[in-house]
Subunit: 221 residues, 2 copies
């Protein structure tokens, strides 16, 4: 994991006061998000942004997908990628359009993806991806078969060049607007899990497992 020293890419030129290089904050933003947006440059030179599930183990950020995926195969060649993770925490309503904003926490991780080939690390990564979404689930489900593992590609990105940007709190109104009679403030945003819907045909005697009951407990982000 990075010690937090900004590089040329992770140093914020715009709004440097929102920049965070604390590894603890970076980890919590990564871990609290359901998905990331992975950016790469395609063979013909155009950028591509792919939403995908991720999981972190120590300083490794894992993603996975079909071994037949053209995009994953391209990333596995070691091209540069940018993984961005964003939580939108609130709408910031200022007294003016210009100063209106959002409260958010975002992380950008830069680097070259590494194809994971060691069977133990593949197991670790795939379990981490299941656990990332539903802690405890990996012990409840059937484990991957050899054929399923062959159909799956896992990539790792080392979190050593990363930065976070965090905005919290009230709008920064122009002092000249403070006397106006326009309401200003923040509308908080949260992500909620709803009541689980059993798949059609599920034996009604099968109880809702611990992993799902845990998901329904209030979430931090």
């Amino acid at each position: 994991m990075s010690d937090g020293t900004p590089t040329d890419r992770t140093e914020l030129r715009r709004e440097p006061q929102l920049g965070v290089h604390d590894p603890e904050v970076i980890r919590s933003i990564i871990d609290g998000a359901l998905i990331c947006h992975l950016g790469l440059t395609d063979t013909d030179g155009h950028p591509l942004v792919i939403p995908t599930i991720h999981a972190r183990v120590d300083d490794q950020l894992y993603v996975h997908g079909s071994a037949a995926s053209r995009t994953l195969r391209r990333m596995a060649t070691g091209i540069e990628v940018c993984c961005t993770i964003t939580h939108v925490d609130g709408i910031v309503l200022a007294r003016s359009a210009f100063w209106s904003s959002m409260n958010y926490r975002s992380v950008m991780v830069f680097g070259r993806a590494r194809p994971v080939t060691d069977p133990d690390e593949i197991d670790l990564a795939l379990d981490a991806i299941v656990e990332h979404i539903a802690p405890g689930r990996s012990a409840e489900v059937r484990r991957p078969t050899r054929k399923e593992l062959q159909a799956t590609k896992v990539l790792a990105l080392t979190i050593d060049e990363a930065s976070a940007k965090v905005r919290t709190g009230d709008p920064n109104d122009d002092p000249a607007d403070l006397a106006s009679d326009v309401w200003a403030g923040v509308v908080p945003i949260t992500t909620q899990f709803g009541a689980p819907i059993a798949t059609s045909g599920l034996d009604p005697a099968v109880p809702i497992p611990v992993s799902v009951r845990r998901m329904l407990a209030p979430r931090q982000s």
Copy 2:
């Protein structure tokens, strides 16, 4: 707006059954999301993925930012960008790790960003961005001054090369797993707006405006 005919970039090679080229679906996914993730290739060739607020007017997707932003200035030179918008609608828990998934709706829009320079179109775009988040808000707030407009850059991306990918419903379990006693189903995910928090020092006599009361009404996505 695209008539929906896939191009080489928007035709799904993986899981083509999830591909949607219906312009109506693409528009609803764009309009229902608070933010997008904009991908571009930086001057030194590495990919960059930026989370930002967007708004759509007809077939134009608008984003904005500081006129001093290096990234926005780079996009304004007409380089290729990829704008990805993703809603995570549910966790799909299969009886096996392999078939576990997510329900989601995502859109990718490809093209070259155009710097918006016409003052009327800048007004239209900035109003649309405010309205995208809080319908009715643009009429409540102080409008941008000439100086604020000079500090703001607006870019437009024509939605003519776009595709959506939508997954809904139950897990697709392996038929061999259907007899297992593992719970399977979907945990729905929704985004909720919480009670508005007035900015510190706001005159308590200022009522919560119509735009904020509208935001608190249940949201579709």
